[in-house]
Structure formats: structure tokens, C-alpha cells
């Protein structure tokens, strides 16, 4: 029998503030963390969390990962002592790009002052696995530890990998998630150059006038535990990760396959992995980037995967409130999905004004509403899926319950 995997801790740093509860409270209230067309974590001050030495040895994306992980570990009740042999606790933290701010800074040093002036900290600052390394070091985790790189699907892939690690028996618990901080001159220019970001600076997923995503930064970290172990130690369970699947479009370097067929297959496989029928899905947390292509193909994918039920289930986008957190998005959104299911509330897609042709699902426009429980779920808990699709055509779907 497959080992069940439960969520016992969550932590988030997002443009809506510090904390997973803050994210949920404010999103449900219809508040936005996007200011001036950017989703920055303006409430986050490294000095509140790190010594000078720690701060200068961690790129901002790593700092965000560590602070989110600290919250997740505290909420799992692990703060004073790890509940398992540290060799049985893994750590997987995804990122889209890694320490880009540090790379840009050291490139300037190289050009202006020559190779001998480049900081010996450059590599550990830039490396994409720095988030995983720092979290594991801070908490003394000795199980399998690495970063995952799959652009905007990295956070979801990291959680999926973590689940598989527990199922395979390689770990009893895994601290997993995603982190990103690329509000830098290069990334801002680069995403604009390819026409991916919104010229209007407005995140309005599924709206007819959407014109690209709004870049955000942040981190989301979850503590996953084998259900048998969590039960044994009497852990407070926040939710359950029922299923996961990943597929690849193999279509275009950046554009999604417009038919959404591989994204749809990822949804179907995640549901099959969870042992869930489409009709049992109570809520869909969409990838919903606010780009013309994603929101159209994702809508297609949901129709293909969920059939008629796609028109009944509420579908909303966290990115409407915080922007696109790239490699952190999948993890932050898994936390948002779990919170929505737990609270029994479908949080809204903000800035939704004008329906687009063919985009005719229930996007929960602008106001949160109560989330029904499908009769098939026995009224005991709600089930949701969280979609993540990355540049390169990487699709990852998580099926959650709370």
C-alpha cells in the first residue's frame, strides 16, 4: 500500500507579508500585494532574521527560503527538536533562476575591478541549490537534499519530489518548497524583452485585457511527513498531499502548447495518483499567470481534464494578488490551496473585469466565496488541485486535501 503523505507545517513570505496565515487572510479579503506593478516582499527585512554574517552569505532568494522554512518548521512543532532521525529528513527547495541578484552584482565587480576582486562567496550565493543547502544546514537535516530547477513549476516539482521520497521510503519527512527573488534589473529587462510581463503592471488572470504577468518574489515551504509517522507522534495535520504528476509539452521553449493537452494529462495523472475522480475536485488553484497564452491554454487543459465538472468547480489565481513568484509560485500556491480548502473558502481572482472568448470557467471574480464540498468526499474534507506550468513546457500538478 502506498504510504500516505500529510502536511504538518507551512511557511510563506510573499508580497502580502510574512506568514502563511497573512497570505490567506489578505488574499481572501481581496487585498493585493502588488505595488507599482511589482510584487516585492516589502515587509521582509533580512536584519530581522539574520546576523550580518548569515545575511551576506545568502542571496535574497535563500534568505526568503530560510525564513519560510523557519515558519514551516515552527508550525510543525519541530522548533525545539526534530521528531525523527535527521538522516530520515530530506530537503528539496526549487527555484526558477537562483541567486540572480548576486550574479548581477558580481558581474559588475568583475567588469569594474577585475577577476581578483570577485567575492569568494559568489558561487554559494548564486547556486540554485543554495536555498536547500541553507535550510538543511540551519536545521541539521541529513536526508536527501537538493534544489529543483524547472522555471515556474519548480516549487510544485519540489513538493512532488518530496512526496515521492517519502513514498519510496527514502525519508520519513521532507522540508520542501520554492523560493525566488529576481526583481533585478536584468530579469526585469529580460522578461519584458520577451513580452512576458504586463506593460500595464496589472495582474488580471483570465480577463480579456490581461497583458502579461506581474513579477513577484517570495518563498513557500511545507513540512511533509509520512502519515504513519505523523500519527505516531501526534502531529497536528494541516492537510494531505494526495497526488502529484508531471508532464512535458515538448512544444516550445517558452509558449505553452495551446491545446493544453500535456497540462491536461498532468491533471488527470495527478488525480489518478490521488485516486480521485474529476467530480470530487472542489477547488482549482490555477497557474493563472495573466499572460494571454497561459490562461487560454490552462482553461483548455482544465476542460479536457475535468470535463463538464470544469464549469462547476471554482478556479482562482493567487497570482492576481501577489504576482508571479516564478520558482516559488508552486509552493506558495500549494500553501494557498491547502489554506483555502481548510478554511472552506474559494479565494478570488482579483482584477477580473471582462470575460474573454472561450475563457468561460468560474474564475471566482474579485470576491471570495464559501467553498462547497463535493458529495463524493463524504463532507469530511475538501479536495483541490494546484497547477504549475513552467517555461520549457514543464507541467506539475498537485492534488491536495484539507
Amino acid at each position: 500500500m502506498t504510504r500516505r503523505v500529510v502536511i504538518t507545517g507551512v511557511g510563506a513570505v510573499t508580497p502580502l507579508g510574512l506568514g502563511a496565515d497573512t497570505l490567506l487572510d489578505r488574499w481572501v479579503a481581496g487585498e493585493s500585494g502588488i505595488v507599482g506593478g511589482v510584487g516585492s516582499c516589502s515587509d521582509f527585512d533580512p536584519a530581522d532574521h539574520f546576523s550580518r554574517k548569515e545575511a551576506r552569505r545568502a542571496d535574497r532568494f535563500t534568505q526568503l527560503a530560510v525564513v519560510a522554512a523557519n515558519e514551516a518548521i515552527a508550525s510543525a512543532g519541530w522548533e525545539d527538536e526534530l521528531p525523527y532521525d535527521p538522516q530520515r529528513i530530506g530537503c528539496v527547495i526549487g527555484t526558477g533562476i537562483g541567486g540572480l541578484g548576486s550574479l548581477e552584482e558580481q558581474t559588475d565587480v568583475l567588469r569594474e575591478r577585475g577577476p581578483k576582486a570577485v567575492s569568494p562567496l559568489s558561487v554559494p550565493l548564486m547556486m540554485g541549490n543554495a536555498g536547500a543547502a541553507s535550510v538543511a544546514m540551519r536545521h541539521g537535516l541529513h536526508g536527501p537534499t537538493y534544489g529543483v530547477v524547472s522555471a515556474c513549476a519548480a516549487g510544485a516539482h519540489a513538493i512532488g519530489d518530496a512526496m515521492r521520497m517519502i513514498r519510496a521510503g527514502d525519508a520519513d519527512a521532507v522540508v520542501c518548497g520554492g523560493a525566488e527573488s529576481t526583481l533585478t534589473p536584468l530579469a526585469t529587462a529580460a522578461f519584458a524583452a520577451m513580452g512576458a510581463t504586463s506593460q500595464a503592471g496589472i495582474s488580471r488572470p483570465f480577463d480579456k485585457n490581461r497583458d502579461g504577468f506581474v513579477m513577484g518574489e517570495g518563498a513557500g515551504v511545507l513540512v511533509l511527513e509520512a502519515a504513519d509517522k505523523a500519527e505516531e507522534r501526534g502531529a497536528k495535520v494541516i492537510g494531505e498531499l494526495l497526488g502529484y504528476a508531471a508532464t512535458s509539452d515538448a512544444h516550445h521553449l517558452t509558449a505553452p502548447d495551446p491545446t493544453g493537452k500535456e497540462a491536461a494529462r498532468a491533471v488527470r495523472l495527478a488525480l489518478a495518483d490521488a485516486g480521485i475522480e474529476p467530480e470530487q475536485v472542489d477547488y482549482v488553484n490555477a497557474h493563472g499567470t495573466s499572460t494571454p497564452l497561459n490562461d487560454a491554454s490552462e482553461t483548455q487543459a482544465l476542460k479536457a481534464a475535468l470535463g463538464e465538472h470544469a464549469h462547476r468547480v471554482p478556479v482562482s489565481s493567487t497570482k492576481s494578488a501577489i504576482g508571479h513568484l516564478l520558482g516559488a509560485a508552486g509552493a506558495v500556491e500549494a500553501i494557498a490551496t491547502t489554506g483555502a480548502l481548510q478554511r472552506g473558502i474559494a479565494p478570488p481572482t482579483l482584477n477580473y473585469e471582462e470575460p474573454d472568448e472561450g475563457l468561460d470557467l468560474d474564475y471566482v471574480p474579485n470576491e471570495a466565496r464559501p467553498l462547497e464540498t463535493a458529495s463524493g468526499n463524504g463532507g469530511a474534507r475538501r479536495i483541490g488541485i494546484s497547477n504549475s506550468f513552467g517555461f520549457g513546457g514543464h507541467n506539475a500538478v498537485l492534488c491536495l486535501a484539507a
Partner: protein, 82 residues
């Protein structure tokens, strides 16, 4: 242009450099060991960069082998600069 490496000048640059890499300023003195200051190999490379920038004295990995205290490094830099 490099600064003249007097004992006083080298001490100031190294003390400031140690604080820059994150050592506790209150613990920095000539007798303090790198271990006490939690200064590791990456910090030492940064310190060597600062020293070279300031005094034109190049410290390689082997030069610092066996040196334990801040004062020993200050003495080495002053000696090399002459």
C-alpha cells in the same frame, strides 16, 4: 596606489575587514583566534582581497597556514610589505 603598511594601518584594515565579513566587532583584537571569531576559509579569502587592495600584499592559502590569531596575520602583512 596602496597604503603604507604600518602596524597601525594594517591593524585597522584587518579589524575593519573582519567586521565586514561578519565577525563580532567586540571580540576582534590581536589575540583573538579565527576560530573564536568564527572566521572560515571563505572569510579569509575575502580578508586577503582587502589586504591586497589596500597594501598590495598578496596572501596565498599556504601563507596563512599555521596562523591562528589576528595578530599573527597583521605581523605577516607588515613583514611582507617591507
Amino acid at each position: 596606489m596602496t597604503t603604507k603598511a604600518t602596524d597601525e594601518a594594517v591593524q585597522k584594515v584587518i579589524f575593519d575587514g573582519l567586521a565586514e565579513v561578519g565577525a563580532d566587532p567586540e571580540q576582534i583584537n590581536r589575540d583573538a583566534t579565527f576560530e573564536e571569531l568564527d572566521v572560515d576559509s571563505l572569510d579569509v579569502v575575502e580578508l586577503a582581497q582587502i589586504v591586497e587592495d589596500e597594501f598590495g600584499v598578496r596572501l596565498e592559502g599556504d601563507d596563512l597556514k599555521g596562523l591562528e590569531t589576528v595578530g599573527q596575520v597583521i605581523d605577516l602583512v607588515v613583514e611582507r610589505a617591507q
